[in-house]
Symmetry: C2
Subunit: 499 residues, 2 copies
């Protein structure tokens, strides 16, 4: 597998006598469940990026902070890598195990510790499911805003690790904008309290630094999230277009008019047909593109925005506009979008989901580029995306059993991400870098910037034991990848001449 | 002065032959203006925290990135500290010079480079004034949201360095929530591009890490900010209370009801009388407290929120509620609040402005605590604050010419900040730590957390040349200060036994 940990490229890992380590850890923390038989380990060999699999050396399932602390101190002393895992729903392989490492599963930390409706906050353990927070807060008319598609299953700890988004993050922000405080254990087992319930914290912004750090800086043991009041009203418009670029232009015009929709999503014809065939959402299957635009807030405000958006859509050349007539139709419109990935899964043996983000004004150009790349590589691409915030999820259709197709899909995916960077965007919007996009980081960042990332990593974890080989590539990997990041006219990676 | 750099406590600084350094720098960067005569240096000896003054070794006023780069490389090679300064309006002494250091004034980087109305962003140089961005964007119906009271004068670079807020940050966020991208020079003169115009950036969140880092990690040379559409309508309610605690409770109820006002400000009787006497805003001078609540957004939405907030205020025991009848009265209501600091300046020879942040539910308790401390130290305290986000600005009135009063004011201020930390808040909301609150950082953070901050600092600036002695105290300083931060039951600073 091209993306497995490669010691030659990613740096050497210590080798250990597994049996001795297991015995020692069992003796040290007898109360903690520890899996080490190959059969028990199999369910943990991948996360949501199922194409990449590695069997971990062992899996720890602690249920108390003392246990995690003891485990980390043991790992630090014995120099054993530790890979944290929440619900394992991540799409970039951030929780992909290492053969030489302990997989630290935080799923048992699943208690909602406190909800304070007056302060509109909830304090929860990291293994609590995203949706469970909103369900528990519903009695107070509150909810937790970020809503990744996996919200039924994914855990808040994993959301923090990946800085997860969702269809509403245009208006309500990513995870980092919706959390206030973290309790974190360092690799040495030190407990840190990061952030506060207050508006701002002095010192460097460790809360933001930890969020999205993919388990490389510390292990989150508690999360304090902001809760929002449920919007009074919500309406969804479904607009059809006979041209993908016109739909892209309409997105820019809606945002440019100062409307901030709760959600603003786009799907192209291939995605529309797949979703309609699966969900019967009532989508127009002959449209080249549709936009779904949700407006939420106070009743009167929603009606006014609805009128404005309708006018903009007509002006932008929409061939049809429908407003969901009731809550059932609104749910149906969204069900099509939210099930677009499995729907595409029905029309292709395999698909590969990308997660690039681009400035909105480049939507049309990037869509053209993707169409050209799709032709060049001979693979179909369905486009489904959070159009409002420029976060694209091109789905590359392939057949892993057809010789060479998987490699072609990977290369096509990499080209699409490089195109995103070229137009001033980035290689991830909400899924993280993980193992999947490690090579594209060489395109996104200069060697100076990567060196700085490594220094920051070392400030938390000098021996590099937390989730090694993910998120931040070694300079050596970038040299191997032949990265062509040109930074302010300098040659890329001049310091790599020593390799 | 108790807060001057103390090499014994803050760590040794290299000593230099000033004349030789000036000559060398002039030779290296002949085009850059460099001040070194004592008379020329005097205007730069303090920032907005005027009580603390130090004459810098020299003042550099570069006007190109090449010049800044050359200056930084020189400073790194010669181990000369560099203190960056924007407009010098900061209130925590973040730009207080060092006798052994170069003051790097970025005021000449004052160009707005590009406004993109479709993407709603502006790319500006760091010396551009905060208000100038909104003025330039007004033609497109856009504005830059964070509005510190000093917005006429303060620069966006300084706003980034201090993560500045303003009366609207409850709804619209701090600086960190309103910027997308930074160009930064490291102490070695390396150019870094941090963040992107896209929603999210992969890798560690350096954008947030740099924001509020008070010039300790790098020098900002360009800022890309988000612009917002001007709200269609805005109304202000002025509510009077016969009891400060009732006003505090009303704040929690407004937010708890899910209304997010554009601004929600509170003033106590001393502040009301001072402001009314100065501005004639129409404030009720016999009220124990007033709340100013601005609601903005779509017309219909604002009216609805206005009705809701009115009902909540009545329920909470407001003795009177007025709605500004027109734009002129709205401006007058705000003018009283925005001029509260100079108004207090008219009734006391000196005042000392604090900047603590607390969870909203603790408002009443902290107000009681401040009243008790005010009695104990025999100094009047006027309370003016961003009530909605729990950011308090107690103004301690004193006379610097009365023996011991300044020291008493300092101690009283420190006690107030410690009270903020005690209730789960923090020692700064929007003014930064700078030199002023360096000792209180020992109360806010454990030695492990401070050690981590120092490691992060070292990742950017291993020789500690950027703004030394600000923001993050040495562990030695905390030991001297006798900090009593008890962290998870451990003794504070056990590792300081070696000192």
């Amino acid at each position: 597998m091209s993306y497995a940990y490669d010691e030659r490229i990613d740096g050497p890992l210590p080798s250990h006598d597994k049996a001795a380590l297991v015995a020692e850890l069992q003796r040290l923390v007898p109360s903690m469940q520890l899996l080490h038989d190959n059969e028990d380990l199999r369910p943990f060999e991948c996360d949501g990026l199922a194409a990449y699999r590695t069997t971990p050396m062992m899996v720890a399932l602690p249920d108390s902070i003392d246990q995690v602390q003891a485990l980390l101190r043991f790992a630090a002393a014995r120099k054993v890598p530790v890979i944290a895992r929440g619900a394992g729903t991540g799409l970039s392989g951030g929780a992909l195990p290492l053969e030489q490492g302990i997989l630290l599963v935080m799923a048992r930390f699943n208690r909602i510790l406190h909800i304070d409706p007056e302060a509109s906050i909830a304090r929860v353990q990291p293994g609590v499911r995203n949706l469970a927070i909103s369900q528990a807060a519903a009695i107070h008319g509150l909810y937790y805003a970020p809503d990744p598609s996996s919200q039924i299953a994914c855990s808040i700890g994993g959301n923090v690790a990946e800085n997860a988004g969702g269809v509403h993050c245009l208006k309500y922000g990513l995870t980092v904008h919706n959390i206030l405080k973290l309790e974190v254990l360092t690799i040495d087992g030190e407990r840190l309290t990061i952030g506060s319930e207050a508006l701002d914290s002095p010192g460097f912004d460790l809360l933001a630094l930890l969020t999205g750090s993919e388990g490389m800086l510390g292990i989150v043991t508690e999360v304090t999230v902001k809760l929002l009041t449920k919007p009074q009203s919500a309406k969804v418009l479904l607009a059809s277009f006979d041209d993908v670029e016109k739909a892209g232009a309409a997105v820019a015009q809606i945002i440019g008019a100062g409307v901030i929709p709760g959600g603003l999503e786009m799907m192209d014809n291939l995605a529309i047909r797949a979703a309609e065939d699966f969900i019967h959402a009532g989508y127009p299957i002959d449209a080249e593109a549709i936009l779904l635009c949700e407006l939420d807030g106070a009743e009167a405000d929603v009606q006014e925005d609805c009128d404005r958006v309708g006018a903009i859509l007509r002006e932008a050349g929409a061939t049809g506009i429908r407003i969901a007539k009731d809550e059932a139709e609104r749910q149906r419109f969204w069900a099509g979008r939210k099930n677009a990935f499995p729907a595409v899964g029905r029309i292709s043996p395999d698909y590969y989901c990308m997660d690039g983000t681009i400035p909105r004004r480049e939507l049309a150009r990037v869509l053209r580029g993707i169409a050209e790349l799709s032709n060049e590589y001979g693979l179909r691409v369905a486009n489904v995306f959070h159009a409002g915030d420029g976060n694209m999820h091109p789905l590359i259709l392939f057949d892993a059993n057809a010789p060479g197709e998987m490699e072609r899909a990977e290369t096509l995916g990499a080209k699409i991400l490089e195109l995103c960077v070229e137009v001033g965007g980035s290689i991830t919007g909400e899924h993280g870098v993980g193992r999947e996009k490690i090579n594209q980081m060489c395109v996104q960042f200069s060697s100076e910037e990567l060196t700085l990332f490594h220094s920051l990593k070392a400030a938390f974890d000098p021996d590099g034991l937390l989730n090694p080989g993910k998120n931040i590539p070694t300079l050596h990997r970038c040299a191997e990848h032949g990265a062509m990041h040109i930074h302010h006219g300098k040659l890329p990676f001049p310091e790599l001449e020593r390799f």
